[in-house]
């Protein structure tokens, strides 16, 4: 049997590939010389490839992100790692107002192909300031590509695609997926511009859509629905949240007439609502067989207590019962 690789190892392999093959790549971030900071995803890279290209840095999110953008403008394909999305918010200006607009505001005469790796790091009673994801914020911004891998293969390959892309990319990996294992083939070099949502299960009763960790819950729910209820789902993992290509999902809902979207973030103006709105706009309204549903976080900041955390975060049971309600 082929050996299985975890999501975290997939990311580490992507780093090794990039550092080994692309002299224009370097990476900067808090904790990169630490034995424990970013999990195992960057283990010993500084030792293997040198502290000149694997750079630990001061607690200055804004300047280090801006410096990454500056190096990208000068021909590098650099990455900054933010060990938590929450910290990265201090650097939103550089991501959203500088990098995402750099090509456009100079009429195509320049580009800022930086990758912003933001780690979703939540749970474990960390509370409100160590739990945000906010991927929907970034998906709102033209000029910024947003990648959220769910599979270990995507974690590896789409990280490479993100770095090598000529546009700024927000690449968000979720610690809750680090142990997910798959048999990975060789690295596949994919042009990020061609990457779309991926149909992981094929079915006819309902269309289920997720991204990142929510996709894991969707996949489990879809498995269980098939096995226990005989309900088959077209299940899509979004992968790239911006620019968003929903063609196949719209086609799918046209077929199933039912749509359940799960997203591990807040509801209002979130990606789950976006999928529903886009389908509602573009699919003939007469195709609906039941109301679309979204499963998202409650409208509250993250709590700390374990009992409240259990109530707060998404569970596959919510998806299962939404599907059952929608099909019945």
């Amino acid at each position: 049997m082929e050996k299985k690789t975890t999501y975290a190892q997939g990311i580490l392999e992507a780093f090794e590939y990039l550092l080994g093959n692309h002299p224009e790549f370097f990476v900067i971030g808090q904790g990169l010389w630490s034995p424990w900071y970013v999990g195992s995803t960057m283990k010993d890279l500084d030792i293997k490839f040198g502290k000149e290209r694997v750079i630990d840095c001061p607690i200055s999110e804004l300047a280090t992100t801006g410096a990454t953008v500056g190096a990208a403008i000068c021909g590098y394909k650099p990455m900054i790692v933010h060990p938590r999305v929450d910290f990265m918010l201090l650097a939103v200006d550089q991501i959203v107002t500088q990098a995402a607009k750099w090509r456009h505001m100079f009429g195509g005469n320049a580009q800022a192909p930086a990758t912003f790796r933001a780690i979703i790091n939540r749970g474990g009673e960390q509370g409100a300031q160590h739990s945000q994801s906010l991927h929907s914020w970034f998906a709102h911004i033209p000029g910024l590509r947003v990648v959220m891998p769910y599979t270990a293969k995507d974690a590896r390959d789409l990280m490479i695609s993100s770095v090598l892309c000529n546009d700024p990319v927000m690449f968000m990996d979720d610690r809750w997926l680090y142990e997910k294992e798959e048999i990975l083939g060789d690295i596949e070099l994919i042009d990020l511009r061609t990457v779309k949502p991926q149909r992981i299960h094929e079915g006819s009763d309902v269309t289920i859509v997720g991204a990142s960790y929510a996709s894991m819950l969707c996949e489990q729910a879809s498995d269980e629905l098939r096995e226990k209820q005989g309900i088959t789902a077209d299940f899509f993992d979004l992968r790239v949240l911006n620019p968003l290509n929903l063609d196949e999902i719209i086609e799918s809902v046209t077929k199933t007439g039912r749509l359940v979207v799960a997203d591990g973030d807040w509801s209002t103006c979130g990606i789950a609502g976006e999928v529903i709105a886009a389908v509602a706009e573009k699919m003939s309204f007469s195709q609906w067989k039941s109301n679309p549903v979204r499963i998202t976080l409650p409208d509250a900041p993250a709590p700390t207590s374990k009992n409240l955390e259990a109530a707060y975060y998404l569970k596959k049971e919510q998806i299962i019962s939404a599907v059952i309600n929608s099909v019945k």
């Binding site: 010389w33 409650p298 709590p303």
Partner: protein
């Protein structure tokens, strides 16, 4: 240029007793007691993390207790104190509320934040500790605004902002110093420079190992003190706080200290560099508690027996507090949505 700390950063120095002349013995004993409460509370927390009883991330200030007790001893209840991620000591120094700290780290409704905050979001508003949060640098402008409020209130209250050497790398820190200086705000900036931010020594992050140079640049009066010397801290702070109240100008105190435990959690983090392994041994000899105790003993103000009693009493208090916290209830599920808005 390139001023450096010199001996203050050399742990083999400053291990002897303190110069307590000119200070009230009663206040020093009070601070000794508080330091023991802080030390032992945090040791309890460390043990309970190892036990698996505590889940939330805890940043322990064991070894750094003196700063908090010296600051607290100069304040009044209407002052406004803000902490950061490593703030058990700041919280306990204000009112020694072990019960509500323990309940909070367990996520219980009896906690100071009703179980919504854990170790990193603690508060004791009625006693002037207005909150601590773990986004590095975040409470510096907030405390500056508390200073603005105090100035508008015109009652001579002050704001206190606690932060670390790492926080001095955040833009919010510099912006706050400028604002406080340009607008004459009564803010006491307290930097606990423990030479580390997480795994990185300050020399890998900044061009100098002292941060008072930023106060200098912003035209803010400042002093660099042995942060493990309650006496030196108290003298500096008494003058500073008086000055702030009278002039409504900010003041910047840099206290040189060292944390005995790791960045987060109970371990000693000796994996972050050989130097730390060596230095830690030395820093433990610059123990703020032992040094104060020996100075008081030398001055015949506190005996070995007194110290034993203090430690035993504290152990009992802590045991009781822990048991109470364990029995307390978790917040109800509905609470999650009840406290989002007014």
């Amino acid at each position: 240029m390139n001023e450096r700390l010199g001996d203050l950063a050399d742990p083999s120095k400053f291990q002897g007793p303190l110069d307590i002349s000119g200070l009230e013995t009663s206040d020093l004993i009070h601070q000794l007691r508080k330091m023991v409460v802080i030390r032992k509370s945090e040791e309890k927390i460390a043990d309970k993390i190892i036990d698996g009883a505590i889940q939330c991330p805890c940043h322990l200030a064991i070894g750094q207790e003196a700063v908090a007790t010296a600051v607290a001893s100069c304040l009044r209840k209407t002052d406004r104190v803000f902490g950061a991620h490593r703030s058990h000591s700041h919280f306990l120094a204000i009112n020694e509320d072990i019960d509500s700290l323990f309940a909070e780290v367990l996520g219980k409704y009896d906690g100071c934040s009703h179980g919504m905050g854990g170790s990193m979001h603690i508060i004791d508003a009625k006693n002037g500790f207005l909150g601590s949060v773990p986004i590095v640098g975040a409470t510096i402008p907030i405390a500056t605004g508390a200073g603005l409020a105090a100035k508008l209130d015109k009652k001579g209250d002050i704001a206190v902002s606690y932060f670390g050497d790492g926080a001095c790398e955040e833009g919010s820190f510099h912006e706050s110093l400028n604002f406080a200086s340009a607008h004459n705000l009564p803010v006491l900036f307290v930097c606990e420079n423990n030479l580390f931010s997480s795994h990185l020594h300050i020399d890998l992050r900044q061009p100098s190992n002292t941060v008072a140079r930023f106060a200098q640049a912003h035209n803010i009066d400042h002093q660099v003190v042995d942060g493990n010397d309650v006496a030196a801290l108290s003298k500096a702070l008494q003058t500073a706080v008086k000055h702030i109240r009278e002039t409504s100008r900010p003041f910047f105190l840099e206290a040189i200290t060292y944390r005995w435990r790791g960045h987060v959690g109970p371990s000693e983090d000796t994996d972050v560099g050989v130097k730390r392994t060596h230095d830690l041994v030395e820093w433990k000899k610059r123990d703020p508690i032992a040094r104060l105790f020996h100075s008081l003993k030398d001055a015949n103000a506190f005996t070995d027996a007194d110290f034993e009693i203090l430690k035993k009493d504290t152990d009992q208090k802590i045991k009781a507090a822990w048991e109470k916290a364990e029995l307390a209830d978790f917040p109800k599920e509905q609470f999650l949505l009840d406290v989002v808005y007014s």
